[in-house]
Symmetry: C2
Subunit: 214 residues, 2 copies
DNA sequence: TCCGGGTTTATACGATTGTATAAATGCACA
DNA sequence: TGTGCATTTATACAATCGTATAAACCCGGA
């Protein structure tokens, strides 16, 4: 592309942190697009706009890069979900409805996120570190949902004991997970607005309360 | 191991169909154990007890072998679920409860199955054939669940219209999927009997009926 | 018993992978 | 404006990947 007759390609220093996260982002992009086997050292470097050798300068091995990429993905997902809480209404019932609706509609529900999640799911049974991250993020989300459920039940005048709230949170979490997956993977069979309606309606039935349409 | 001083290793003819399915089983074992990247031609052949070249005699390429392995996995799962219906009681309420309980407890819920499912999930967005198989099995299971739900509601004296039954089936399917995943991946956080209790209780709340403990 | 044909093994090849090492470069600081 | 040093590139290497091809083998039918 008219890069001149020869010579070494130009480059700019970017700083350790920025370069690290750029490489991590490139790794996630590669995995999302073509699965783990597509995330080769050369493909990652090409997408990050650097040469392959640089990866080994910031990560002891490709395995370490992939592990850190998955950790960044997980923490990013939980942070997104946590910050979404701030934008929700204060009324406990509307709050729960809004939380549930957001969890199964775009941009939370999208094919890339599910592809990455499935990729990490494959590592969880084998890699203890991945397993720990998965358990932590799972329990974090579940606890947050349990809090919303408890407050909603209290506001509706039928508070539940701790054991019931916990069981409802487990069931609700599973419901959101499954709906999130199908709405992302098969959007033509589970449309976006339909997923929202179904999720809110199911939660209303689970808790035995009326939930406002978000 | 005392195989003699040299010579070609002994082997036996197995027949086309048997060898094909043996290679497919070996492929699934490899994927379940170490993910797709562990399912190399040599690893598959070693697990099947043959030499690598034989794979290319039965499959035009490794890609074709993997595709057929995933198809076999999917159809196997649906057949298992379908045949499980025969062993369930005739009473619609007990039948639904039993179906739900079986879906989230071993042997349906196990780490190997989830690992394979996650692996196939990664191919679904990219591979049209995998996408078609996934959609078919998903809709198949969902339709079966919708039938059970409709019959249970009818037996309980509060029949639902078609749209409601469909929405309940989608929600119930998502609930079973999510619980199946977590019970398989994190059995220490969602114990087996707890998953059964939660699932049946959640379905009772969803449908607004009393379900017998299976 | 032997022989034909499909099954299986053995070996090799090019491409791609992760990794290692040295040289060149851009940038902060004097 | 030069200079030190971390950053980045370039190149090379061994291992492993999927694939190709020819030879050896097992087994059923004559």
């Amino acid at each position: 592309m008219g890069a001149g007759m020869s010579g070494r390609r130009a480059f700019t220093h970017l700083g350790e942190d920025a370069r690290r996260s750029a490489l991590i982002d490139a790794t996630l992009d590669c995995i999302a697009e073509g699965g783990p086997q597509a995330a080769t050292v050369r493909a990652i470097a090409a997408r990050a706009g650097v040469t392959p050798g640089l990866i080994r300068h910031y990560f002891a091995s490709k395995e370490e890069l992939v592990a850190q990429a998955h950790e960044a993905l997980m923490t990013g997902l939980t942070e997104t979900s946590a910050s979404a809480l701030d934008a929700l209404p204060a009324d406990p019932l509307a709050r729960l409805a809004g939380f549930v609706a957001k969890a199964v509609t775009p941009p939370v529900a999208d094919a890339r996120a599910v592809a990455l999640w499935a990729a990490s799911m494959q590592l969880v049974p084998r890699d203890p570190a991945m397993r720990a991250v998965h358990a932590a993020t799972y329990l974090d989300f579940r606890d947050r949902l349990e809090g919303l459920i408890a407050e909603a039940l209290h506001a509706a005048g039928r508070p539940a004991d701790a054991a019931t709230a916990r069981r409802l949170a487990i069931a609700g979490n599973a419901l959101l997970d499954g709906l999130w997956i199908e709405a992302s993977v098969l959007p033509e069979h589970v449309a976006s607005d339909e997923a929202r309606t179904i999720a809110v309606d199911a939660f209303a039935r689970l808790l035995g309360v009326e939930l406002p349409a978000p």
